[in-house]
Symmetry: C2
Subunit: 210 residues, 2 copies
DNA sequence: GTCTATATAGGGATAGAC
DNA sequence: GTCTATCCCTATATAGAC
């Protein structure tokens, strides 16, 4: 049973963090929800931060995967869609992290460094893809424009869920809200696309107006 | 002395919230810092949330001012710069609010509604300015592009400080970091500007590359 | 592995003296 | 207005029995 309980604690913690926000979930809440004693929980994990770190490791591994860029050929817009879906689904799965990002990272230096590393990887991925699109003639932008746009892509993606939570009335997001975020990112690069692709994208995006 | 203490509590709370994050500052900390007793603090304010609400009211009033759009004439780029400065300085003054935005608003329905109202006003202000720039011939974009861009302007502005904190290594931001955020917003609308203005803006922005 | 019981610490908040 | 003293409650974490 040991391994199962250990795993169940992680899963339940993730679910509760996502539902209520990490600061609002105590180790007692988690134990209660699982129907185990607080002492038992502390047998499996040293403390709450330990649980957060384990969850972060999973997040990190998944995001590293999502940020991989197809090698050996120039990217196209389909690649961008796919990658954005992978990234947004990863963010959604570990959304508790994004909800209280600054606070969580400020309490744990290691996590802050690791998250900064992910952002750096994401920046280089975004820049690489945009450069590839430019090389393929799908997009037209100067190096400066690409750098600035990549930065805004990171920012919008990172905080889309927070923005949505604060802007919208409904408490929980749906798959459709995620897609809306993806469009919001795509519209950052739309102005630099060839006419055909830009018009196509704008048409698609209309379906997701708030 | 009564009025002075009441006011000093607000000022010290704001400073400590900004420096340490609102969740990490207790009423006892505030009283200690002021050199008064916790009981005295509770004489002036019902609870911590009361303090947060008073600070929010000041934030709200100042942001409402910053969001006013010049009436009776079409806007120009100078107006945009000025307004962004006012908005960013307001956000900076009350940055504790933005640091833990989702958590703070989730604990207080009134604040959530009032913040949503501000965002709505900001959206209509941004849209109005962009439309005005289009009308003045400074900018060229479809109604859909304007709407999407206004949304991204809000998002980037709202979370710029968080993004900067999480991305950069240095803990506290400076006036220069604020200016960087303003450029980041300006670069959202750059692709839609007339050639002369776009080139000028891109040149200016280079000085603020990270 | 799991439980019960408990230690410790801290935060929010109030009563009553001055 | 201000302080001291205190209460209540909750959260983290550990010890020791089963």
């Amino acid at each position: 049973m040991s391994k199962q309980t250990r795993e169940r604690i992680l899963e339940t913690s993730l679910a509760m963090f996502n539902a209520l926000g990490e600061p609002n979930v105590t180790t007692n809440h988690i134990a209660d929800e699982l129907g185990i004693s607080p002492g038992n929980l502390y047998y499996h994990y040293r403390n709450k931060d330990d649980i957060v770190e384990r969850l972060f490791a999973r997040y990190e591994a998944r995001m590293d995967q999502a940020l991989l860029v197809p090698e050996g050929r120039l990217p196209n817009l389909e690649d961008v869609w796919l990658q954005l879906h992978l990234v947004f689904e990863c963010m959604w799965t570990f959304r508790f992290l994004y909800r209280d990002l600054v606070d969580i990272l400020s309490r744990n230096r290691k996590l802050k460094q690791r998250f900064a590393r992910i952002l750096t990887r994401a920046a280089s991925s975004a820049t690489g893809v945009l450069k590839g699109l430019a090389e393929a003639g799908i997009l037209r932008a100067t190096a400066d424009e690409i750098r600035a746009t990549a930065e805004n892509v990171l920012l919008v993606a990172t905080f889309w869920l927070n923005y949505h939570a604060v802007r919208g009335a409904r408490p929980e997001a749906t798959q459709e809200d995620l897609t809306q975020g993806i469009y919001q990112v795509m519209l950052l690069i739309a102005p630099f696309l060839r006419d055909a692709e830009r018009l196509h994208l704008n048409t698609l995006a209309q379906a997701y107006r708030r």
